[in-house]
């Protein structure tokens, strides 16, 4: 640390709240780190010589004569190839018993990529899950969350997607992970023999919530090192962003900020965008793809956290339990991959777009038929066919336990169209019907 020689120690704290302390100090710069009684803290406000510090692990037990020293630098992570295969806490310290990382010190939460220097994402990321590949295709450089209720197996699906994706590095940012989930990830990564390409930054539920705020920046600083310096394809997993946002609201509340919707800080959109917008396709081939998890409260996507997330990310994958097929499916109505048009029909078969739309539209007709049925009305022949189709469509294509190639997904869809519908009912372009309509129907 460059200015250690000039480091001055203070021992008189003027005010203490649950998350912050204030003291009189000079020569302090905005965002710089400090230690208070050995605990890491960051400058969040200066007013004259009164400096307010946010203490990540909370202010429990801090006395008014605590020893405060300023470190002269904003938060940073040491980066090098040694990061690969390691597990760290929110401060970037190893938690796997291994040695400290030697490497260049990089500020976290650094500047954004010049939009003009970005490249258009264009590489399909296959996952084998038809609810994703067929209806909501992922592209490298994309940012997309799973929207899921807390009881759904989102971490499992995410681990599955990560291990199937063809990437050079996988970086896990775990925020408020239960210890069980942390061990699950560790176990899955080890079992897949993929540990050497995985880096994890983990804050568990046993640790102070405000520490979580450091996790995404740590994970993304590591990601930028591999994507920018090493031109690698990096996949970043962030789970659970709802707990991250909750930590933001705790801090803003302690700072006496006026809350906006759902008691979230007014800057929630910008705070989340700063993280998600790190997803990028770089000109020299490196890329950062972000797959996140946003847990919902009883499927409510109008809550400020999923709502702001939806406006930032390039779509969302919505997990839902389907009572008809008894499986967890990727909801085709609410899910969306905004970048899918960049690869659909370009890196996949020409009929992909129309098959996808027809499949979902007919599934929607089935939902209408279902409503009719529930209201006790007679169903038409078409309604009955829709319902039968929906059941098979959900279990053979929407369920998250599907693992097939994209051509096979398209063929399965055509098979179902042929089985249940007439050509006109699908509304697909004639030339595609001529080419792909199953022969036996």
């Amino acid at each position: 640390m460059a200015n250690k020689a000039f480091q001055k120690t203070y021992t008189r704290i003027e005010a203490i709240t649950k998350a912050t302390v204030s003291l009189r100090a000079t020569g302090v710069s905005n965002d710089e780190l400090a230690t208070v009684e050995g605990k890491l803290a960051q400058v969040v406000k200066t007013k004259g010589d009164l400096v307010t510090l946010q203490i990540f692990s909370g202010t429990e037990g801090i006395p008014t004569n605590a020893e405060v020293s300023f470190l002269g630098e904003p938060p940073a992570l040491k980066v090098s190839d040694e990061l690969a295969g390691r597990f760290f806490n929110a401060y970037g310290q190893p938690i796997d018993g291994g040695p400290e990382i030697e490497g260049e010190r990089r500020e976290t939460g650094g500047p954004s990529v010049n939009p003009y220097k970005r490249r258009q994402p264009s590489q399909l990321i296959p996952t084998g899950i038809a609810g994703i590949d067929l209806n909501n295709t992922l592209v490298s450089g994309q940012k997309i969350p799973f929207f899921a209720d807390p009881d759904q197996p989102y971490n499992q699906v995410m681990a599955q997607v990560a291990l199937r994706a063809d990437v050079d590095k996988i970086i896990l940012g775990g925020m408020g992970l239960t210890n069980d989930d942390y061990l699950y990830f560790r176990h899955e990564f080890e079992n897949a023999g993929a540990l050497n390409k995985i880096i994890s930054f983990v804050n568990t539920t046993e640790q102070p919530p405000v520490e979580r705020l450091l996790i995404p920046d740590m994970a993304l600083t590591a990601a930028e090192y591999f994507a920018v310096d090493k031109n690698e394809k990096v996949l970043v997993l962030l789970t659970d962003m709802t707990l991250y946002a909750d930590a933001l609201s705790i801090v803003s509340n302690r700072m006496d900020q006026i809350p906006s919707k759902d008691s979230m800080p007014g800057s929630l959109y910008s705070d989340l965008a700063k993280i998600y917008e790190k997803a990028v396709q770089l000109p020299d081939g490196g890329s950062i793809t972000i797959i996140a998890v946003t847990t919902l409260n009883d499927g409510d996507i109008t809550h400020a956290i999923p709502d702001n997330t939806g406006y930032i990310t390039e779509g969302q994958l919505y997990l839902r339990a389907d009572p008809d097929s008894g499986k967890i499916i990727i909801d085709p109505f609410r899910s969306l991959s905004r970048l899918k048009q960049l690869v659909i029909g370009k890196q996949t078969r020409e009929d992909h777009n129309q098959v996808m739309n027809a499949g979902v539209r007919l599934y929607a007709d089935a939902q209408n038929a279902k409503t009719k049925m529930e209201n006790g009305f007679d169903l038409s022949d078409y309604d009955m066919r829709c319902l039968d189709y929906a059941k098979e469509y959900a279990s053979r294509l929407l369920a998250i336990d599907v693992n097939i190639g994209i051509d096979e997904m398209l063929d399965t869809a055509w098979e179902l169209f042929g089985k249940y519908f007439t050509k006109a009912e699908t509304g697909i372009k004639q030339e595609l019907i001529d080419r792909y309509w199953p022969k036996s129907h």
């Binding site: 500047p111 010049n114 906006s260 809550h303 400020a304 609410r334 009719k372």
Partner: protein
């Protein structure tokens, strides 16, 4: 003498400065911090202290850092070279920046000061001129870029001399004007204008009297926007706001398009960067980029510059309008700008309005929309700025401050609907809630009957009625069941489905269907209305459904075929056969 000051407090990008002299509201200043100078704007003054919003990250800034005030407000630099440029919210040229990452304190010149332009004089010595009058012109690509008397010149001037035709840089003098006091003023090809002030150097602002075609049926046919008009597109995420706006940018019948990407996704701007230089403008055959200027302050770029980005964009539009151009401004999304205002108002500890937005939000929005419009220039020619903004309402709920404030200001309302998007009925514009006030203008009605045949507006009303009736019928069917309603209900419902599938829905990714010229819109609407006028008298609802599905399929194939091509007529003949054979 410029005032200076010292930083005394920092909360995020709100910085308090102790000042040593006079400063004005919205005055620009620079904070010298860690070897770079960071641009900022005065937003509040209290005694010896000014509150400034810094347009960049304040990380590393210290109390005591020196501040220099500039004595002027944030200005746009106007001149040849704006077209096809890509700027950030403060009009820094993004293409000339070095490095992959944006560097703090790196400011680049908006216009190339070395490039030579072929100047042709228009004004002659002795001419009496006022602000925005044309002195000469240069060719900016295909565009006759007028060199004007700067907007900031007040009163009347006499042209003393104009440079001969020849090559000049934007900084060389091309004219000398004499003011009313007999003083000479030199004019070059560039001028500056404070972005928050509307440019008012024109003769008058009449009511719009024609529509601007977008090629999008649900807009042009059902709720057309006037040239010089205003409209807005609110919608929850995932309803196709951006796809719709990009379609308008690609197809809109304007000469100059300015896109302000305000607080939205960077990849959406990248899409424009990579596609617009390749795509062809359907009206002129030139590349789209040749008519487009991009102002981008994406969601990860400094929040404080979001507000600046929309004002900079509007100022550039007004500049081209003063040349007699038909300009279209698209801003995505004005909600992000409102949120930036909210963040700052919050840090200033102002008393909040609804949802913690500042109380003057409504006034700010309506003042901004009021800058659009068709104008008659001093020389009698016309120019226009048409403005379409998107709004991202929190939770998709249209009863929120930004949507409500915008509704008061904009004349067209294109409500995107979650339900339609869920059913993949794109563009997901709700046909009943959306409106265009311009349909009520007698001037516009007259114009429409000229380009689309007599009684066009009545036909549009009739179409909306079919949709409305179809919805009512469908509600009844859902309540009473297929057998519980008279047959006519099924027919009403399916007629509305016919309108929905053939007129409202449009495939933005199909090269033919995505762009429907007015002539084709007229043809298809007449065709669909003719069908809707028939009484079919079906025996049962299954028969009705099947018959309409078959018709919809044929008409859809027509939409996918080239207009009046062999295929097109082939499907139309099949349709006629179907209709002639009856149910």
């Amino acid at each position: 003498m410029k005032s200076t000051g010292k930083v005394t407090g920092i909360v995020s990008n709100l910085v308090t400065v102790e000042i040593d002299g006079p400063v004005s509201q919205n005055e620009l200043c620079y904070v010298a911090s860690g070897g770079t100078k960071l641009m900022a704007e005065v937003i509040k003054v209290n005694g010896r202290y000014a509150s400034i919003q810094v347009f960049e990250s304040t990380r590393g800034m210290k109390n005591g850092d020196a501040v220099e005030f500039e004595g002027k407000m944030l200005e746009a630099t106007l001149g040849p070279g704006l077209l096809s440029s890509s700027y950030d919210g403060l009009q820094n040229d993004l293409t000339t920046m070095t490095g992959v990452f944006l560097k703090k304190g790196e400011y680049t010149a908006p216009l190339d000061e070395k490039k030579l332009w072929d100047f042709t004089p228009i004004a002659r010595p002795g001419d009496k001129v006022t602000a925005a009058d044309w002195l000469g012109e240069v060719m900016e690509g295909w565009l006759h870029h007028k060199i004007m008397v700067p907007f900031s010149f007040e009163g009347e001037y006499t042209v003393k001399s104009v440079a001969d035709a020849g090559q000049y840089t934007i900084l060389q003098t091309v004219a000398v004007l004499t003011n009313e006091d007999g003083e000479d003023v030199e004019v070059n090809m560039t001028q500056k204008w404070p972005v928050k002030k509307p440019v008012r150097a024109y003769r008058e602002k009449p009511r719009p009297d024609r529509i601007m075609e977008t090629g999008v049926r649900v807009i042009d046919t059902l709720n057309p926007i006037a040239e010089g008009g205003t409209g807005f597109i609110p919608g929850p995420f995932g309803c196709g706001k951006t796809v719709l706006q990009h379609a308008i940018a690609k197809q809109g019948d304007a000469e100059v398009i300015v896109m302000a990407a305000c607080g939205e996704r960077a990849n959406e701007v990248v899409e424009i960067f990579s596609e617009f230089p390749e795509l062809i403008d359907p009206h002129t055959g030139r590349h789209l980029m040749e008519r487009t200027t991009i102002i981008c302050n994406t969601s990860n770029m400094p929040v404080a510059a979001r507000e600046a980005s929309v004002y900079t964009a509007m100022t550039i539009c007004e500049y081209y309008r003063a040349m007699g151009m038909k300009v279209l401004l698209l801003a995505d999304s004005t909600s992000r700008w409102a949120q930036a205002l909210r963040e700052m108002s919050n840090r200033l500890e102002e008393l909040p309005g609804t949802d913690a937005f500042p109380v003057d939000l409504s006034a700010i929005i309506s003042n901004f929309y009021a800058r659009a419009g068709m104008v008659v220039l001093n020389n009698g020619q016309t120019g226009s700025v048409t403005f379409i903004g998107t709004v991202s309402p929190a939770g998709g709920n249209l009863k929120e401050p930004v949507t409500e404030s915008t509704k008061k200001a904009a004349r067209c309302f294109y409500a995107l609907e979650q339900k339609r998007a869920d059913q993949k009925r794109y563009p997901a514009v709700n046909p009943i809630d959306s409106y265009s006030k311009y349909l009520e203008y007698p001037e516009i009605q007259e114009y429409l009957s000229k380009i689309a045949g007599k009684g066009w507006v009545e036909k549009v009303e009739k179409t909306k009625n079919i949709i409305r009736k179809g919805k009512e019928a469908n509600d009844q069917i859902n309540i009473l069941g297929d057998d519980g309603v008279p047959m006519s209900y099924h027919e009403l419902f399916w007629k509305s489905e016919l309108v929905d599938f053939i007129i409202l829905q449009q495939d933005a990714f199909d090269p033919i269907d995505s762009l429907t010229p007015m002539e084709r819109q007229e043809y298809m609407l007449n065709l669909v209305l003719d069908i809707c006028d028939r009484e079919f008298g079906f025996d049962d609802f299954e028969q009705c459904r099947n018959f309409f599905k078959e018709m919809i399929n044929l008409l859809k194939q027509m939409n996918y075929s080239e207009f009046k091509s062999g295929n097109f007529y082939k499907y139309q003949e099949q349709l006629n056969n179907l209709l002639n054979n009856g149910k």
